[in-house]
Symmetry: C2
């Protein structure tokens, strides 16, 4: 790496930002009227009186939260949209479990306006009652599911409540002594809100003149599908370990011929059945894009000598290095200065 | 107002920020083990297979989310903590329903580092299952409750789903045509989490060397109580229409003799029974602080000729003017430059 490149890399970690505005909005909400629920009795403050509460009436459901940080002088034409994975919120991009700046800061320092969203049903998007609006009850991810299956911090049977008894994968780059900080970021998830979520993401893309979408995990299918729904507005798609992808159907990928795609994958994928099942489905969409003539890259980090990354690439201790790989990909295509 | 003051006031609305870091953390979470719940069957993606999910195991509960924006060159010694009201999240401070910058931007431009939190149970703090962890089901605020009672946008009977049929108070400063945008910010609330919430707020205060707390509504009692719990760390307390306050008990307010307090109140308080009941309880705490010799100010905006403010002072169309009153109060005490 040249001296100049090293200086630039260092400033991506420490330089201040000149920010014109921090703000937020919601997209996709619609007003619903709830009827027929019984009155409830509530005590709202300590030692307060019991008062009756009528839960019937109008509420909003289906909205998604979008926070933006706009630079005074962005050096990129299109903003970067950061879309989290399942059972998560935009906090994933804001900080790492070991307390370093997240990818939101990294890409702001790289000169892009950044929009971080909380998808329908979680975080600042809020959520709606079930079974009145959502069909079913939510799921609360357990530490074991996260550690042994979804995030691949360790093999089956290696999670224990006692930190001294936890056995992560050899060489894993996730800061396993910060598991509790990572769990603080978890949010309940529903299995019944995919259509609502896609509609809200599509509404966000429609609201902007153009954007680059960067997703993680469950966000992957939403991002790849949003590009398929708006190939003129979505300028590029970066998918960190997407857990799903659109189904290749005839030549549907041809609409994305001019939209560059990047897929990035970590380590231990062959040791966890969820990922053994999931990766080939995504690979088929990659192949359909490639067959359509799309500029598409599939980065297998271990094959490049970058070993030990978990599913939480933006939370691993080399998260800045992974971000730099993404930034270089954007730079080579003119999406970043 | 002098020319110089006007220029300064204008720059508070438009000047860019030099930001050293945007980030976040959680405080107050603890790991719990859930047992004895039946397995569930879930379909995680469209057309996916049914797979079994074990909801038992470790989760985190009781955590609060705190987002900070740190300036490269803050001009105030202590950061400002913005604590939202009930059934709300930190989004209240980030934007207004009519799309203007919120108080987060205002006070950053005024030179203070700003910490915006989502309290336990809402927003990016996440929430925990009931009845396993929380004792009861949450409440979803209806538009009618918000419009006619809590936020005082219009009198009883004046809410209608059809916007053309809504009848707000004469002269109300809330942008009533943006009611849906405001409702997008609502979050479910529990009536059983006051102690968890106070613990997390206290943990935040303990984590910082010193801070100024600015609260709204339900956040009021948490902020006033946090100051009582840590009178050396809390440098000032600003309460926008607190819905509750500590109980004056002997000379408990004496601990706050050196902590300036400001209370700010809007209009129509005598026309809504919730507020007719609530204000005197808060006034008793104000009086106890005053009797203890605390620097305490009670601003009745209509008595100053500022009419039409709803309960949502930071969302009303004169929100910047209200923020300026707060900033002037801080400046006169040396808490802002």
């Amino acid at each position: 790496m040249s001296d100049q490149k090293q200086i630039h890399s260092s400033s991506l970690r420490t330089s201040p930002l000149l920010v014109s505005e921090i703000g937020s909005f919601h997209v996709g909400g619609e007003m619903l009227s709830l009827h027929g629920m019984p009155l409830r009795e509530r005590i709202s403050t300590n030692q307060g009186a019991v008062h009756r509460v009528n839960p019937n009436g109008e509420i909003i459901a289906g909205q998604m939260y979008v926070q933006y940080v706009k630079l005074e002088r962005p050096t990129a034409r299109w903003p970067l949209l950061l879309w989290h994975g399942g059972g998560m919120t935009g906090v994933n991009w804001e900080t790492t479990p070991d307390g370093r700046p997240g990818w939101q800061m990294f890409f702001l320092r790289a000169g892009l306006d950044v929009y971080v969203s909380d998808a329908v049903e979680r975080g600042r998007a809020s959520w709606a009652p079930y079974p009145e609006v959502y069909a079913d009850a939510p799921y609360f991810r357990t530490a074991q599911e996260a550690w042994e299956e979804t995030f691949r911090f360790g093999p089956a049977g290696s999670w224990h409540r006692d930190p001294a008894s936890r056995h992560p994968h050899d060489g894993v780059r996730f800061p396993v002594d910060q598991m509790e900080a990572f769990m603080n970021q978890f949010a309940p998830r529903w299995a019944t809100n995919n259509e609502r979520t896609q509609r809200a993401y599509d509404a966000l893309v429609d609201k902007l003149d153009g954007s680059i979408i960067l997703t993680h995990s469950q966000g992957g299918n939403f991002g790849l599908t949003a590009a398929l729904h708006a190939p003129d507005r979505v300028k590029a798609v970066i998918s960190l370990e997407p857990s799903g992808a659109p189904t290749a159907d005839g030549n549907n990928a041809a609409a994305l011929r001019h939209v560059p795609h990047l897929f990035v994958w970590g380590d231990y994928l062959d040791q966890h059945s969820f990922w053994v099942d999931s990766v080939p489905k995504v690979r088929r969409w990659h192949d359909a894009l490639a067959a359509a003539g799309t500029d598409v890259e599939w980065i297998d980090l271990p094959a490049r000598g970058i070993k030990g990354n978990s599913h939480a690439l933006m939370a691993d201790d080399n998260s800045d290095d992974i971000a730099m790989i993404v930034l270089d990909w954007l730079r080579r295509r003119g999406f970043a200065a």
